[in-house]
């Protein structure tokens, strides 16, 4: 329900912003705020980047809203939320996640002889990111930011059932992003590398830590993309994942995406995501769509 409200809020924000055109979300160049990754931080689709959400430059604010939907073979995932960027320095974000697991119920019943405690799992994610040094475009060295994502699972029955230790966790990450303007054959090239310290199982939808491992580990995440024009970015991402649950192996995530920024107030991203095995169901991949409004 909340998801629908958020999707509507995002659309309203985007539609409001278009005719008003009073504020474009700041002075920075179009597409340089990226989009919102699943946990609500500015980045690609699954990886947070060093960029600050929106287009705020020094002294400027930017407010953003997003909604994401991913249809996997056996699950549906939705995320929605908002973020505030200030001064190209600080970013605050909130996201709500929901994973529909109703197709898992018969599998669990057949395999374990017990009913699944719930047909969905949800969680909240709160993020803070600070740009430490450099500018994405104009400096020789990459823009570097540090961030925190605090996540709390609000339907812990299922995660507990699969062996998760905690219902909440905090990820720390360090991201380095750089855009080479002349890139390859005159097409700007973006590269991002993120190191994340985490014990989240499937973003935390399956809780934090597990019977195999409780501790946080460093994971590598990478995104690369080309600007085909001022408003179209195509690229690919990779996110290494821990595997803490004995009965539910977790695999690395990857995606290929195309994002369109028709204005500074709106963007839409389509992607094909391959999330591997999720809660015993293997080879989960599917179509990802995300919209974003910026003021």
């Amino acid at each position: 329900m909340l998801q629908k409200t958020q999707i509507i809020a995002t659309l309203i924000l985007a539609i409001m912003a278009a005719p008003l055109c009073a504020y474009e979300g700041g002075s920075r160049l179009r597409a340089t705020g990226g989009v919102h990754q699943v946990e609500g931080s500015a980045g690609g689709g699954i990886v947070p980047w060093a960029v600050i959400a929106g287009y705020g430059q020094k002294g400027e604010w930017s407010a953003n809203s997003f909604a994401t939907y991913l249809a996997l073979d056996d699950y549906q995932f939705s995320a929605a939320g908002f973020s505030l960027g200030y001064s190209d320095r600080v970013e605050l974000s909130y996201a709500r996640h929901q994973l529909d697991i109703s197709e898992l119920a018969p599998v669990v019943l057949a395999g374990f002889g017990v009913p699944l405690p719930d047909n969905k799992v949800s969680q909240d994610a709160i993020g803070v990111k600070v740009r430490l040094v450099n500018n994405l475009i104009y400096d020789t060295w990459p823009q570097i930011s540090a961030g925190i994502q605090y996540k709390r699972n609000t339907d812990f029955d299922v995660p507990q059932f699969v062996g998760a230790e905690d219902d909440s966790g905090t990820d720390f990450y360090l991201s380095a992003s750089k855009l080479w303007l002349s890139g390859v054959a005159g097409y700007p090239f973006l590269l991002n590398a993120t190191a994340r310290l985490t014990n989240s199982n499937q973003l935390g939808l399956l809780g934090y830590g597990g019977d195999l491992n409780e501790d946080k580990e460093w994971m590598a995440e990478v995104s690369a993309g080309f600007l085909l024009s001022r408003d179209i970015v195509v690229g690919a991402e990779y996110r290494q994942k821990p595997s803490n649950l004995g009965i539910a192996e977790e695999e690395d995530w990857r995606d290929v995406f195309v994002a369109w920024f028709p204005s500074k107030n709106f963007s839409i991203t389509a992607a094909w995501a391959d999330l591997g095995s999720i809660a015993t169901l293997d080879q989960q991949s599917g179509f990802y769509i995300s919209i974003q409004g910026t003021l």
Partner: protein, 142 residues
Amino acid sequence: MKNLILTFALTSLLSACASTQQSQKDRLFQELGGHIGIDELVVTSIQFLHSDERIAFLFEDIDEPNLVTQLNEQLCSISGGPCQYEGLSMLDAHAGMDLSKAEFDIFVEVFIEAMRARNIPFSTQNELLALLAPMRVDIIHQ
């Protein structure tokens, strides 16, 4: 006679090399439309800057003919054209103006609009921007 032919062949070869190098060196200048193209770009940019309310005030009391000359020289020189930029350094040219990061970004945005208006290809735009980007450090907060 043999020596003469050899000398001639070598000279031709070398001058061929030199001329390829020359055409390589001014490729971006040619893609921008040479002197005429660059002048049109400069004039369009200044027009657009004047009509952008976020940044127009910075160009109100400016010596415009001088700005046109300087920008022409600079873009010609940086793109490998047959010019030498003899104006002030970027640091000296912006001294005391205390330009903000936001003003710089808006300038780039308007400059991109001008390049689009002049139908400069996307890849050429980016090659030029990449050459201008390192100047930012000398332009802002001076």
